[in-house]
């Protein structure tokens, strides 16, 4: 599904140039559960931003289901993020003035879904993540774990092909973090492709494939098909 060739991202910092990604090639198949780890500044977040269509590479190609994402214009990229990608952030990024339901509706608003339809789907998604009784609550009236579930429901709104999670448990205590990871595993079992960026080894252990970054390059890429059985 994802095919990345010699991807480079170079930032100009005054006189110096910094290669956040120094030529990364990577293939991810549909249904995979991938964890990317590495020290901060190793390039893992940069890769995630590129894969999510939030940023453009300096060099290299990025194909998604055979389409050249690098050739997309701004509107194409917006639509790509809207329909094919679901984002989950460390700090949840919910809009505080909207209810849980309205937050989940947001991607569907940008997809142009009529209100009745998207409300029904948002309610179903909140039900799916175990928040069926809290659709009217504001984020401020919820615990961190609940907020992250709302964010996951929102990420699933337009049935994306790929869910990108950036330190999804970073702001949660270990128990609620485990709950969120369990939810991820369930979703993956249902066929959703998952890519989680984390520096937490315990989170990475839950994935079936582990990629380790250092200085903008992949230094290790292991598939552990037996991990799920453990």
């Amino acid at each position: 599904m994802i095919e990345v060739r010699d991807l480079e991202k170079i930032y100009q910092m005054g006189e110096e140039t910094v290669a956040a990604l120094a030529g990364v090639s990577l293939t991810i198949e549909r249904g995979e559960h991938v964890a990317i780890t590495g020290a901060s500044g190793s390039g893992k977040s940069t890769l995630m931003n590129l894969l999510g269509g939030l940023d453009r590479p300096t060099r290299g190609t990025y194909r998604f289901d055979g389409e050249d994402v690098g050739a997309f214009n701004d509107d194409d990229l917006a639509d790509f993020r809207n329909r094919r990608i679901g984002f989950v952030f460390q700090s949840f990024q919910l809009l505080p003035r909207l209810s849980a339901l309205q937050n989940v509706e947001l991607p569907m608003v940008y997809a142009g879904l009529p209100p009745v339809e998207r409300r029904a789907r948002a309610a179903a998604l909140l039900e799916r993540v175990g928040l069926g009784a809290r659709t009217g609550h504001r984020p401020t009236q919820m615990s961190g774990g609940q907020q992250q579930r709302v964010a996951i429901a929102r990420a699933l709104a337009n049935s994306p092909d790929l869910l990108l999670a950036d330190e999804p448990t970073g702001a949660l205590d270990s128990q609620t973090g485990q709950d969120v990871l369990a939810l991820f595993r369930e979703l993956n079992a249902e066929g959703l492709t998952l890519l989680i960026v984390t520096h937490d080894a315990k989170v990475a252990d839950q994935a079936r494939r582990s990629i380790v970054f250092s200085d903008g390059l992949i230094i290790r890429d292991e598939r552990e098909p037996d991990r799920e059985a453990r």
Binding site: N49, D55, A78, F87, Q93, R97, P107, V109, Y110, N158
Partner: protein, 412 residues
């Protein structure tokens, strides 16, 4: 995305900060209210000018003795020293000109009126019966004196409503009663239809008309000698003719007064139509000036909107980044903020319009100020507030749409 959702986003953002939204709109509220009030006052002044000059009589030329001051036929000096170059025969000769409907000579002088214990100080005019036609006056009860009575110097008068009220009490019938004008007793034979206040604020019913010879010799006294008159009111038969009548009249008087070519006239003619035009033009200029000053406050209101929208974009940077990550196109963000600015501005404009109209009505009622609300001020002020929102919302919206989503999401 759907347009209705864009409206919802903008409305939610405005409702989220009610106080701030109200204060942001306030500038436009004041600006639009000022523009609406200024144009209403200007239009009111224009209408007052029209009614003031129209109230003197339509198609009217006013001939006075003495040369006009300055070029362009402006206002004239009419006091002593300007000469007594007009007389009854001039008026009669003018009356025979083609296209003249009435030529009414007149003299006037201040006098104390007294009857049955009440008295009233006013100006008494000595006129001929044609005066009513020239000045567009009508008799309400009784009658006007005729040519014979005038010539014979009969001591009869026609009075206005104010005189009736002051001397005999409101609603009473003064016909046949006697009034002492100065030391001379006159008999009231007619009452004029009320004309109310003139556009200049003068009471047009404070009027006493007597036969020209009697008033000239008995009341005006030494200031007007022989058969001289102070003013001749000339009414043209129709409006299109008035300029030609004015020219014929001037030629006639120059000939009668034996004024050689190149020599100054010893009389002057005011054309009320052209005076009205000039006054209306100046009122229009004045209104334009007022409206322009008011429009400046509208622009200041727009700057206020821009300021707050820029603050909002900075404040909501993370929200903008998130919306972009969730699939908002740059134009979706642009339109969301532009619509917010326009909505604030138009709501402000609508409130300002209501305030301006209300203020205009209040000024008309309390301040006795002429106010006329121009119908066009409603769409124009709303249109302008929309424009203000569009222009001053454009830059902040553009800034929002140009944000880098990654940077924006990182912002605290």
């Amino acid at each position: 995305m759907r347009r209705a959702d864009l409206v919802t986003f903008a409305a939610r953002a405005i409702i989220a900060h009610p106080t701030r939204s109200a204060l942001t709109s306030l500038g436009v509220v004041i600006g639009v209210a000022a523009v609406v009030m200024m144009t209403s006052i200007g239009l009111g002044a224009q209408q007052r000018v029209t009614s003031a000059i129209g109230g003197l009589g339509s198609n009217l030329l006013i001939v006075s003795p003495g040369a006009s001051r300055g070029p362009g036929g402006g206002f004239v000096s009419q006091g002593a020293g300007s000469g007594m170059s007009l007389n009854d025969d001039d008026a009669e000769a003018i009356g025979k000109l083609d296209g003249v409907a009435a030529s009414a000579p007149s003299v006037r002088g201040g006098a104390q009126l007294a009857s049955e214990g009440a008295n009233w100080s006013t100006r008494v005019e000595g006129v001929t019966p044609d005066y009513l036609l020239a000045r567009d006056l009508t008799i309400a009860s009784g009658r006007m004196f005729d040519e014979n009575e005038a010539r014979q110097g009969r001591k009869v008068i026609v009075i206005g409503q104010t005189i009736v009220t002051e001397l005999f009490g409101e609603g009473s019938d003064p016909i046949g009663k006697r009034i002492r004008v100065g030391a001379v007793p006159f008999e009231v034979i007619g009452v004029l239809e009320s004309k109310g206040q003139s556009g200049f604020g003068q009471d047009q019913d404070d009027i006493v008309l007597g036969p020209l010879p009697a008033v000239r010799s008995r009341i005006v006294g030494r200031r007007v000698r022989g058969d001289n008159v102070q003013t001749i009111y000339v009414k043209a038969a129709n409006a299109d003719d008035i300029d030609r009548v004015q020219e014929d009249l001037s030629n006639l008087l120059r000939e009668r007064h034996r004024i050689r070519p190149g020599q100054d006239d010893d009389f002057s003619v005011q054309n009320m139509a052209s005076i009205m035009e000039a006054m209306q033009a100046s009122v229009k200029t004045f209104t334009g000036l007022l409206a322009a000053v008011a429009a400046v406050s509208l622009v200041v209101g727009g700057v206020g909107i821009m300021n707050i929208m820029l603050v909002a974009v900075t404040e909501r940077t993370r929200e903008i980044g998130l919306r972009m990550a969730l699939g908002a196109r740059r134009n979706d963000v642009l339109f969301q903020f532009a619509l917010e600015a326009i909505t604030l501005s138009v709501i402000g404009g609508a409130i300002g319009l209501l305030l301006g109209l209300g203020g205009g009505v209040l000024m008309a009622k309390l301040g006795d100020w002429p106010v006329a609300i121009a119908a066009w001020s409603i769409p124009v002020s709303l249109g302008f507030s929309l424009l203000v929102g569009l222009v001053f919302g454009a830059y902040p919206s553009w800034r929002a749409a140009r944000l880098d989503p990654i940077e924006a999401l990182r912002r605290e």
